[in-house]
């Protein structure tokens, strides 16, 4: 186990280094840069732009900027945002809660409903329910989230007035109920796609398990069908789902770009889009490294979890 972890760690560090280099170069290759937005300001002169460029250190060669950045990062300094002059980690920290709330809720909904649909679809294969679930999943996967979001707002907020038209809470009302009320529509819209994914995986995985010999043995022992499914099938079918959960873990913290925009949700996805639009290099790089670390962590956790749950797998 220890050897496995050390091995993984060294691989991860190399991976992070590569990600950071590619990210840094691509970001700086993008035309414009953080000062382009001031170019059309009335009264802004080329001299002012040149001065700002120098003050921000953007006139140095790219490799020098990169080395400076990574050296500071290794010392724990993630840099300062160009956009609001705050430390990058504090900028990220301010948006974490919103994303965790939204993504956590929608993922919980997705796992619960998706797993149930998947199991039921597999045990009642080719039934009306199974066909509806399959078609439903296709529809949910192929329709863009922003469209769902806008239609949802139109029907449930503007026409019916049941839920708010976005925002995380009503300004001036920080009660739990108020948060929950605002959470309903975006978390359902967001979970639609995930329900589809989870139900498809779960269905396949359950079908796999059902056809295994130990299931036949269990049935031959005379166990009730319900007991066979709950005790023998589902437990085994859930194993591949742990890996899927590990892959999905980073998205719980990095947020949803589109849904957060449509629902005016002040989360990480929104922050990423805004920082990109502003060419706020320190924050974009910070988010990139943050999600890269999460991806690596997510996979690692999934591998370890599978090993713990499934005695057939040994890490090393």
């Amino acid at each position: 186990m220890r050897g496995f972890l050390l091995n993984r760690l060294s691989q991860s560090l190399i991976l992070l280094l590569i990600v950071s280099i590619i990210g840094f170069v691509v970001l700086n290759l993008l035309p414009g840069g953080p000062l382009a937005q001031f170019g059309l300001d009335p009264g802004m002169t080329q001299d002012d732009l040149d001065r700002l460029k120098e003050q921000l250190g953007l006139n140095r060669p790219l490799w020098m900027q990169y080395l400076d950045w990574i050296w500071r990062l290794l010392q724990g300094d993630w840099g300062h945002s160009f956009r609001d002059n705050a430390p990058v980690l504090s900028v990220i920290g301010r948006h974490l809660f919103a994303t965790l709330l939204l993504m956590g809720t929608s993922t919980a909904i997705a796992i619960a409903i998706g797993t149930w649909i998947g199991i039921r679809g597999a045990t009642h294969r080719y039934s009306l329910f199974d066909h509806l679930a399959t078609v439903g999943a296709m529809v949910a996967l192929s329709i863009p989230t922003f469209w769902f979001g806008l239609v949802g707002i139109y029907i449930f907020s503007l026409k019916l007035g049941w839920v708010p038209a976005g925002n995380m809470y009503t300004i001036g009302d920080g009660s739990v109920l108020n948060y929950l009320h605002h959470l309903i529509l975006p978390s359902i819209v967001l979970s639609l796609v995930h329900v589809a994914i989870w139900s498809r995986y779960m269905r396949t995985s359950t079908l796999d398990a059902i056809s295994q010999d130990f299931v036949k043995t269990a049935r031959a022992k005379g166990l009730t069908e319900r007991r066979v499914i709950m005790k023998h099938v589902v437990g085994n079918a859930l194993l591949p789902m742990i890996t899927l959960a590990g892959v999905q873990l980073p998205s719980i913290l990095t947020g949803a770009l589109v849904t957060e925009t449509v629902f005016t949700w002040p989360g990480m996805g929104r922050l990423f889009l805004d920082s990109l639009g502003y060419s706020d290099y320190p924050v974009v790089m910070g988010l990139l490294m943050f999600s890269a670390i999460l991806v690596i962590l997510g996979n690692l956790i999934a591998d370890i979890a599978v090993a713990i749950v499934d005695p057939r797998i040994r890490l090393g």
């Binding site: 059309l40 002169t45 002059n85 503007l158 001036g172 002040p266 805004d274």
Partner: protein, 556 residues
């Protein structure tokens, strides 16, 4: 000290009478539709209520001297004060000064070089410290401090020898006479010396995240990515505030911004306002006041005058005559914007309304080109002295309305034997060196030519402002006319309003004749607010609708 309003401008008697006559009706019909500001009818005795203002960009920069976007202005205008304030009519009003300095009152010397500023004596920072001349000196010196990441330094870089005479008086010398500086001061917000002088690095000061000003509203909190909350400064030296709370809400999508205005989540739509395509529907919403307000920005086709195709004035005249502006404005822009013949904002005191009106006339356009000797070649495109009348037009790719405008122009230009190709670029490329260093052939751009309501346009039209020729400024079309240069030079040295007006009216005449760019329309913005929100005034000299929240209040 007696009631000395910061904002009630010196309107003429006639204006006052007209307003009194309208007084009764003003509450019922949208006052601004009548072209007159809504006076605070019956503001409450103590600040009450809350207004939520929606923005499509997030205000993030709270140090008003650092580089920022227009949405940040709303916070600056509310939390801070400048020495002077530009009112909706383009008249400077005292804000932190006791009187606006001028040559008449001795605040500015005859040669325009020596300035004497007298400040109010009753202003306090939000933390209770008195505001003094030391703060003004500190602010102006911070802007030109090489270690400080200041925004624009135009005008400020000319200031020398700032001397504090007393807590309410200071003087300085200008390196050269520069009349627009007075207007620039309306956008230069004063920051507290006693807080910022302690900071080793003013760029990373804690102040930048929790600003302390002298303005009508105090900083309360910011929920990053969501909103900023301000509370009433009950010790405000000027009139107001009448609201207890002011919230600036960030709504990242233009459709959602409008939706939340419709659903009542926000009380007022600020930058980037209601989109033109929603104007008709918005006007029919119950309990909402929706108004078209003239902006400062002008949409034009910029011609790079150093390209051989555009050197001949006849070509520019012919192209101008071949533009069906009415069709573009009504067919593509929902009829919200206004035709214009000049770069000057139409609300400006310096706007010249007597310029010849453009007329769409294909026959006339052909005739102009024929007379100038541009003969159609074998492919139908006109040629003269080996120059083919063909050029590329560029703008931001993805801007659908501009793209449709281009296709429309392409067709009418083809009818007069001119070939226009479309070559659009992403915003960051388009408005970088390609635009600033005049690498384009022709471009469609919406430009605000004046700064802080001052009529000076040397930055856009003076020969010395051509970057491609080693100059400093934004004369990207490379327009050069010695007569205009001389007038612009004179304009920056002249302080008298009437004299300046004559100068800039003449500049507009010459520019209309020379046609260095072809004006398409002057932008109007669709403002929207809830009925009952009073004391609201639009001001095309400011970039935001929330330029003076101190005067807002809810009708009881």
């Amino acid at each position: 000290m007696t009631e000395r309003s910061n904002t009630n401008p010196n309107y003429s008697r006639r204006d006052a009478l007209r307003l009194m006559a309208l007084g009764g009706a003003a509450g019922l019909i949208a006052p601004n539709l009548l072209g007159k500001p809504a006076f605070a009818q019956n503001p409450p005795a103590s600040p009450t209520g809350r207004v939520i203002v929606g923005f499509s960009q997030e205000p993030t920069v709270f140090n008003p001297l650092m580089p920022h976007t227009e949405c940040d202005d709303a916070v600056h205008f509310s939390v801070f004060d400048a020495l002077v304030r530009m009112d909706p009519k383009g008249v400077l009003q005292p804000n932190l000064v006791a009187e606006v300095p001028s040559q008449k009152n001795g605040g500015i010397s005859e040669d325009g070089l020596l300035w004497r500023i007298r400040l109010r004596d009753d202003v306090r920072w939000h933390d209770g410290q008195p505001f003094t001349a030391e703060d003004v000196k500190f602010t102006l010196e911070l802007i030109t401090n090489p270690k400080f990441r200041a925004w624009r330094t135009a005008g400020h870089s000319l200031v020398r020898d700032i001397k504090v005479v007393s807590p309410t008086e200071l003087t300085w010398r200008m390196e050269e006479a520069f009349a627009p500086y007075l207007s620039f001061l309306a956008e230069t917000f004063m920051v507290p010396k006693h807080i910022l002088e302690k900071e080793a690095d003013p760029n990373a000061a804690a102040f930048n995240q929790a600003p302390v000003g002298t303005g009508a509203f105090k900083w309360a909190q910011r929920i990053a990515g969501d909103h900023i909350e301000l509370v009433a400064n009950t010790d405000y030296a000027g009139a107001g505030p009448y609201l207890e709370r002011l919230v600036f809400k960030y709504i990242p999508d233009m459709t959602v911004l409008y939706t939340q205005f419709k659903s009542g989540d926000i009380d007022l739509v600020d930058q980037a306002f209601i989109t033109a395509d929603n104007y008709a529907e918005a006007s029919t919403l119950p309990d909402r006041v929706v108004m078209l307000e003239r902006g400062a920005s002008v949409e034009s086709i910029y011609l790079n005058l150093e390209k051989p195709q555009f050197k001949d004035p006849a070509v520019r005249q012919a192209l101008y005559a071949a533009i069906d502006r009415k069709a573009i404005l009504e067919g593509l822009y929902y009829g919200v914007h206004n035709p214009t013949e000049t770069f000057m904002p139409q609300n400006s005191y310096y706007y010249n309304p007597n310029l010849p009106a453009q007329e769409f006339n294909i026959e006339r356009a052909r005739q102009i080109l024929d007379e100038a000797g541009w003969v159609p070649g074998s492919d139908g495109i006109r040629v003269k002295d080996g120059v083919r009348l063909s050029f590329a037009n560029s703008t931001t790719s993805g801007n659908h309305l501009r793209e449709q405008t281009q296709q429309f122009l392409q067709q009418t230009f083809a009818e007069i034997g001119v070939e226009m190709t479309i070559s659009n670029l992403p915003a960051a490329v388009m408005w970088g060196d390609f635009w600033l260093k005049s690498q384009f052939e022709s471009a469609i751009s919406g430009v605000t030519n004046v700064i802080a309501g001052d009529p000076d346009v040397a930055n856009r039209l003076h020969t010395k402002a051509i970057v491609a020729k080693g100059g400093k400024g934004s004369n990207t079309g490379q327009y050069s006319n010695p007569e205009v240069d001389a007038l612009l030079d004179k304009g920056t040295r002249t302080f008298d309003r009437e004299e300046r007006r004559a100068i800039y009216l003449r500049v507009q005449e010459i520019v209309r004749q020379d046609l260095p760019f072809l004006p398409l329309f002057a932008y109007a913005n669709v403002f929207g607010r809830k009925k009952g929100l009073e004391g609201f005034e639009a001001n095309s000299n400011a970039r935001v609708a929330s330029w003076h929240a101190a005067g807002w209040h809810w009708k009881d």
